[in-house]
Symmetry: C2
Subunit: 107 residues, 2 copies
């Protein structure tokens, strides 16, 4: 039972669930109505999201409202941001090489 954020958001359905409740908490049935899969399937996705801390559940009578707890997404954000310079090619392999050569010249 590996339960880390990267794996949690790997599933498109779970990303959609997050998107659904991010700005408007919903109960489980309301969430399930937005998908083609069965309610228990959604229930299991919610469980995973809960276990890795991406959502929290608040009981209200017989309903369970799912609220976003997206702080964990910061881990993903940080991991990705490390590479922004690379993909924006402000710092690619060639730059790296040129910098190395420059440093060697200065020695």
């Amino acid at each position: 039972m590996r339960r880390d954020v990267f794996q949690a958001i790997a599933d498109p359905t779970r990303r959609d669930i997050i998107n659904l409740i991010a700005f408007k908490p919903m109960n489980l049935n309301a969430i399930a109505d937005n998908f083609d899969v069965s309610r228990p399937a959604i229930s299991q996705h919610i469980k995973i999201l809960t276990e890795c801390g991406l959502i929290a559940i608040k009981k209200q009578g017989r309903e369970r409202y799912c609220e976003p707890r997206l702080k964990q997404l910061n881990e993903v954000a940080q991991w990705v941001e490390r590479y922004r310079k690379v993909w924006e090619e402000k710092f690619d392999a060639l730059d790296n090489l040129l910098e190395e050569l420059k440093n060697n010249d200065n020695q």
Copy 2:
């Protein structure tokens, strides 16, 4: 064979591979030396990363150099950034409610 970026970076070994070559391209064996799993296992990870466009392979004699092509990570960055306000609680469910009430007052 679902091959999207979110699923590609869900595996910790693949994230480590990306990290290894992000700033310094390496050939496959050199990459594999950094892990406990077998070389073919790494080769398969590389294949997945290649198929979803996160790395590119350049043949050099009998060696294959893996270079980063991290533009695809922007998809992840954008998806995550949508929720930054939520997890930084500058815009949580309560704010949302309060804003709604305010808007209703203005009508």
